[in-house]
């Protein structure tokens, strides 16, 4: 019981952080058709900007609110002036371009903030611990478990039930038709890319009180996000949720029960999903 509960919490908090990051990745792919390699770098930038804002005004909440917005603004610039030029070209151009952005951002962070490790404090409200089975458990992890689904639900509601959400879905389904009925698709793409960047940065700012900030910190999390998105189904929201949940729990229980085989589990899962159901749990038929 004790083992089950703690592993549940471990897996859920990690999974929900993955979910936030994967949502951005999957939205950008679903609407723009771009596999954004720079997503991890935007995650990193979110964490660093949150830290930078906290150096000026020592409030985590302000960093959490403003940091991702600044990254979203950067997303606007990237889409408007770089990404837009390669939509019509071969898909390899998009991969190369987003990979280049990743390298540029990695080096920019190293130049601006130096190579040293940085640590961000959780806000006083969430910094505490609560007793659990004779030990303690951080409140911040519970916060992560709550905030992931909340953001997810909000976005799902937006896409499902609002006028703007419908327009985005229409443009994702058939770009030409949407343009034909008067949707300003280029503007819409800019907005969606900015949303993806915002989600990545939000994940980064939320991860900052848990993990140290260092150059290229996004490279590590992006691999797992790719796995989440592929097993959940590229472009699918519920897919990202189920995929992240699955991966988070698999890793926490795997670590405790599967020994050294644990490391292979996410990749094994990926391989099985690709073999049995290549479009992922919730992916649309290609």
């Amino acid at each position: 019981m004790e083992t089950l509960a703690i592993n549940m919490l471990n897996g859920l908090s990690w999974g929900m952080l993955l979910f936030l990051i994967s949502m951005g990745l999957t939205t950008v792919f679903g609407v723009l058709g771009v596999l954004n390699f720079a997503h991890g770098a935007l995650f990193m930038l979110g964490a660093y900007l949150c830290m930078q804002i906290m150096r000026i005004v020592p409030s985590f909440w302000l960093g959490l609110a403003l940091g991702p917005l600044l990254v979203a603004a950067l997303g606007v610039v990237v889409e408007r002036f770089l990404l837009r030029r390669v939509y019509a070209r071969d898909v390899s151009f998009q991969l190369l371009l987003t990979f280049a952005i990743l390298l540029v951002l990695d080096d920019a962070v190293r130049l601006l903030w130096g190579p040293a490790y940085h640590v961000v404090e959780a806000p006083p409200l969430l910094a505490g611990v609560f007793p659990l089975f004779g030990h303690t458990y951080p409140v911040y992890r519970l916060f992560l478990i709550v905030v992931g689904p909340l953001v997810g639900l909000g976005l799902w509601f937006f896409f499902q039930f609002t006028r703007w959400g419908r327009i985005v879905r229409a443009a994702a389904l058939d770009r030409e038709m949407a343009e034909g009925i008067g949707v300003r698709v280029p503007l819409l793409f800019t907005a969606v890319f900015a949303l993806g960047a915002w989600l990545a940065a939000l994940g980064g700012a939320l991860a900052a009180p848990q993990q140290s900030l260092a150059p290229s910190m996004g490279d590590r999390i992006i691999i797992e996000s790719f796995i989440v998105v592929v097993i959940g189904g590229l472009g699918s929201f519920p897919g990202a949720f189920v995929g992240a949940l699955f991966l988070g729990l698999l890793e926490s229980f795997g670590t405790v029960f599967a020994g050294q085989a644990q490391m292979a589990l996410p990749y094994l899962l990926l391989a099985v999903v690709l073999l049995v159901r290549p479009r992922g749990f919730f992916g649309r038929e290609a």
């Binding site: 190579p115 040293a116 490790y117």
Partner: protein
């Protein structure tokens, strides 16, 4: 006539004045040193400290007239922590830059790949951080030297401390590559020798997270549920920082078991964690800036602090010390010829800020002191310091050459 002669003399003097320094410079072209550390990615701060230490040593020596009257020139390359990149930049330094000596290496993985390749490069390498016992053991060769504490020596010191505690049941958490696994293997070997009654938890109750891990909660839960009496931690860098912060919140450091961190005394880690480093935990390091008050160490510490505004880490010390080690060897050899310098390095003794070191001729590993201490707060320092502190003399913690597995081929 006289004026013409005077003009001629002046002309000759001018020509001499222009050409003499040039020809003198040709005879004293700079000695080239090639440094390879991790300069990018999550471990880049280690490379940064090493670069600072190296540049300070090079500047000091150049100010005092260089080595054998020749100035030093430093070339830095980024290994990125990957073995294939490591070999590539080493080849570049040797075959394109024509360096006289190589210094470097942060990762044991890179060291194990690079050392065998030195046989083609025929250039001495002074290792200052990578701790794998193999490069002065089963993989040892004529070109590879190490002046920093290796895994074997550091873990021996850990075992000596562990034997003094009441803990009889031990487990470990370490990075999932050779370094983490070998730390555990050697720890078991040494602790068993000192305290035969000790017990080690089976593999299923040890933890080896991959280096890319950022969420350690599952590993922390696993270790705590194994109910050990002592835990050996060989994580380093950002992994160690993340682990310590997350484990602290889950009650890991509440005193239920002993904790030894083999690389917890790194300034890179202490400076990031500051007051978030739990107190009273045993941590080890290859160099600690307060470990001795020799003039040599004071000078290094003061100069480093006033130049960079940071306390020198063991990686800064390693790169700094390697430059002086090379200087001592070249002065002993009276030439920069690589093979002669190698012979001079064998058996070389010199004083570094860390204390006296002696490079064994048989396996090229330096006998150097290990420093361990308990983390504690001191208002005089912004980072946790080691108090009480234990210094283990190199001769006591270094295994005999016969145990290293080194077969030096000429």
């Amino acid at each position: 006539m006289k004026r013409l002669r005077g003009a001629l003399c002046a002309a000759v003097l001018v020509i001499l004045a222009i050409s003499l320094p040039a020809s003198a410079a040709a005879a004293t072209a700079p000695i080239k040193l090639g440094f390879v550390y991790i300069m990018s990615g999550p471990f880049a701060t280690y490379g940064q400290f090493a670069k600072q230490g190296a540049e300070m040593a090079v500047d000091e020596i150049n100010r005092e007239g260089g080595i054998l009257g020749r100035q030093l020139e430093a070339n830095f390359e980024d290994s990125t922590g990957k073995p294939d990149v490591g070999i590539r930049v080493f080849r570049k330094l040797v075959f394109q830059e024509a360096v006289d000596c190589l210094i470097g290496l942060d990762s044991s993985g890179v060291a194990n790949a690079v050392v065998p390749a030195l046989l083609q490069m025929k250039t001495p390498l002074i290792i200052t951080h990578a701790a794998t016992p193999d490069v002065t053991g089963s993989l040892c060769n004529r070109y590879a030297f190490r002046i920093s504490l290796n895994l074997d020596q550091n873990v021996k010191a850990a075992a000596l401390i562990a034997a003094e505690t009441k803990a009889d049941t031990w487990t470990t958490i370490g990075p999932d590559y050779a370094f983490g696994h070998q730390s555990w293997e050697y720890f078991q070997k040494y602790l068993k020798q000192i305290k035969p009654a000790v017990r080690f938890l089976p593999e299923a109750q040890t933890a080896f997270p991959p280096a890319k891990t950022t969420d350690f909660s599952a590993y922390i839960t696993k270790l705590m549920q194994a109910k050990p009496q002592g835990v050996l931690i060989s994580l380093w860098g950002g992994n160690l920082i993340d682990f310590v912060r997350q484990a602290d919140q889950m009650g890991f450091f509440s005193g239920e078991f002993e904790v030894l961190m083999t690389l917890g005394g790194a300034v890179e880690v202490l400076d990031a964690l500051r007051d978030k480093m739990p107190k009273g935990i045993w941590v080890g390091t290859r160099y600690w800036f307060l470990a001795n008050d020799t003039d040599r160490n004071q000078r290094f510490l003061n100069d480093y602090y006033s130049r960079y505004g940071q306390y020198p880490s063991y990686n800064a010390h390693g790169a700094y010390g390697a430059v002086y080690t090379y200087k001592a060897a070249v002065e002993k050899a009276a030439t920069v010829d690589k093979e002669t310098v190698i012979t001079a390095l064998e058996g070389l003794s010199l004083e570094l800020p860390v204390g006296p070191i002696t490079i064994r001729a048989e396996d090229h590993q330096a006998l150097t002191d290990a420093c361990w201490g308990k983390t504690s707060a001191d208002p005089a320092y912004p980072i946790p310091i080691l108090k009480p502190m234990r210094v283990f003399p190199g001769a006591e913690i270094t295994p005999p050459v016969t145990e290293t597995g080194c077969q030096m081929t000429p």
